[in-house]
Symmetry: C2
Amino acid sequence: MPKHGISPTRKEDYPEWYQQVVRAADLAESSPVRGCMVIKPHGFALWERMQAILDGMFKATGHKNAYFPLFIPLSYLEQEAKHVEGFAKECAVVTHHRLELDADGRLVPKGKLEEPLVVRPTSETIIGAMYAKWVQSWRDLPILINQWANVVRWEMRPRVFLRTAEFLWQEGHTAHATEAEALQETLQMLDIYAMFAERDLAIPVWKGPKPESERFPGAVETYSIEAMMQDGKALQAGTSHFLGQNFAKAQNISFTDKTSKEEYCWTTSWGVSTRLIGGLIMTHADDDGLVLPPRIAPEQIVLLPIYRTDEDKTAVMNCCQEMKDLIEENQWRDEKIRVQIDDRDMRGGDKAWQHIKQGVPVRVEIGPRDIANGTVSIARRDEPPKQKHAISLEEFPNSAAELLESIQSNLLKKAVAFRESHSSKIDSKDEIPAFFDASQQDIPGFAYVHVADDPAVAKALDPLKVTVRCTPMEWDEEPGKCLFTGKTVSRRSVISRSY
Amino acid sequence: MPKHGISPTRKEDYPEWYQQVVRAADLAESSPVRGCMVIKPHGFALWERMQAILDGMFKATGHKNAYFPLFIPLSYLEQEAKHVEGFAKECAVVTHHRLELDADGRLVPKGKLEEPLVVRPTSETIIGAMYAKWVQSWRDLPILINQWANVVRWEMRPRVFLRTAEFLWQEGHTAHATEAEALQETLQMLDIYAMFAERDLAIPVWKGPKPESERFPGAVETYSIEAMMQDGKALQAGTSHFLGQNFAKAQNISFTDKTSKEEYCWTTSWGVSTRLIGGLIMTHADDDGLVLPPRIAPEQIVLLPIYRTDEDKTAVMNCCQEMKDLIEENQWRDEKIRVQIDDRDMRGGDKAWQHIKQGVPVRVEIGPRDIANGTVSIARRDEPPKQKHAISLEEFPNSAAELLESIQSNLLKKAVAFRESHSSKIDSKDEIPAFFDASQQDIPGFAYVHVADDPAVAKALDPLKVTVRCTPMEWDEEPGKCLFTGKTVSRRSVISRSY
């Protein structure tokens, strides 16, 4: 077991390995409030990077940000029957609006509310109520709004980033005059999520509609992006919902069309959350700790000065500063390259390991001997810790962008290869149990199978603890018969265990 | 009364004028949830600008963002006696964690929590609990963390942006090894707020300590920036609290110093909120609507193409696009200048008035005649709507930055002049009632008075409905005797009505 690595390893205990990676990278920790996490600066910096990139993509497609209330009156939740059914079991309910000290000096709730308020688990109902006021005529459409917010879903089995009572997310809510336009919006946002996952997070995803049993409560169709984690389970990494006229009818979001006819709007909603940080970890991290794709890394390159004497220190620090300035003159993917010099007074080995555990893509060691030789020692986080490359000191600043691009694309390539090596097309019902039997293979991944969108399928799969994740739209049509119902379907679906 | 202006005017009914400016600029509106506002896209864009600038200033001074739970256990609030006293009356309390349908089909709260949770009114206690875990030795200090978040303080008399049950803010929380360092941090953040207010929002502020009666519950000293609104009232626009060791002792945030002695930390907290948007409106808006300082305006320049024929349209639109491109090649205050072309199909006058009401700093009309003459017609939002300037079409793109700077500085100058013309040094107790008597002057503003930090002062001022806002530190020492207690004080303080 390496002194500095993560214990246990992925193979030894995957769930515990995950917790230890989060801890070693100082991303987050549990709080005294049941199920709520504290996102620490290094973890929050990842979320800020995700926000910046996604926000730019949303705005480039015409969306604007706004902010709606944290609280939802009970009567609003009641409006859409399936919606309330889906969320009632996990709602934090505010019932009082002040506190008083009792005779024992303990605080007790007072000022009972006439109507209790729910802390938003999602905002369709409160936002829909506003849209109903804002939309009068076809001229008011489309409404293209996004909100960055916290939401609360009471979780009995919380797990940092993946499943927490409170989490941060963005929720887009749009209203349109036609079904076609709303459907197009739903798919556009799904594409944006998929592009973001693959291009920026280096997480390969399958995107497509989910079966009815996995739909968002109240949606006509839910599309998701699904990624394979290193234990073979699927992580639903983002969803885009076509809500049809369900919410519009429940909330009376209607408009006068060009022919003066009163019509209901067609609405969509779509979101990704801090869960993506969990997905990032479980896709790329290894038994040494976090591995960050350069595009999302708050620090892309860390310069580690090495010296013993004061004289060496001056020369080495000057060289580091000069190199930092030169690197920062370069751009990678339209952004200034992010470089830090880590001059903290601690053992060099411990320092390097801290950056390894935090996933910094590139470590550069610079000492007196390197300066004399005109080289620097480069280590890539996507290679083993001890593998180092001597590179010309002069050339490095101008090749840094290329190095980052190489790491970024290598991480995606690795993740794709991992997914493909743990996936199989399966064409016989009888082969499915063996595929998911952990005693027969270490990491049961994705089964690509012909299945109909039918409750019988979910029921048949239930004993295996697997579900239909989605039916990837990017796959060519390959019609076949559902292994469980015999119905003809046009494409395979992804079946797997999931988070 | 102008057809397109704000009705009522400031003079006719200031509070109602404020509401109408918010409505005309489409910034926000009230929601179905009592006391909670919906921040609409144009209003939220202002908050995004504020966030971007402040966040940069926080990071440049070594702070990092993090995120702490929305909920606070009751027992945490109880830890600091004054703190709980200050917030108990306005806390939203979560008591249940799910909903069930009763026999009548109505949702009712179920799953009673063992310990109720408060929706954070501010986060000193929950963040302090984490700091107590994180800080062991002097090496762990300082902790310099900021959080962008929503907070809830139950308001009986909500007013959009100024006083709402839920609002958005940032709260910085820092822990230090020494008193001097914590005090320096407190004052540094106060300076940052003052610089942001004056340089970016064009809102002149006085900054200094507040009297004990106006302190943050649990603080040793509260410093604020105070701005004069156009009705003469003060708006507390930001606060920075020196918490001493009060919270550290209550929560056991302690560390081992360099001599191995166990010591309590010294902590600070500081915040500004969406209230700043209210301050921006009430400082600059006029009887025509919102007026935005260019630095904070989401759109700094709007180009208004004017044409009747299709032939004219092509020429005019080409000219607009070219001008937009040329302007965007220029920077103002290290940012690309933000230009939009408004080509919507609506009456030119209505369109111009929409931009006036939304406060866009510069409107540029471009029609066929302008192109023929080689000029454009410029209107500045800090001048009357009908005042226009013909400027050379060729020169405008390169002079745009200068124009924005001129508007920005003119708005600050105007606001300073307004404040000074409604402020007086007062050296006799008997003159104070007359100064604040609305029947004797339209807009009673700031009285600059020698007063001690003594409960007797607050008591004497209470019948006049005015308070001591702060004692500006930037003023030269000018010792004098407190008009109410006779004690000698070194500087004057600001006394006024307030929001």
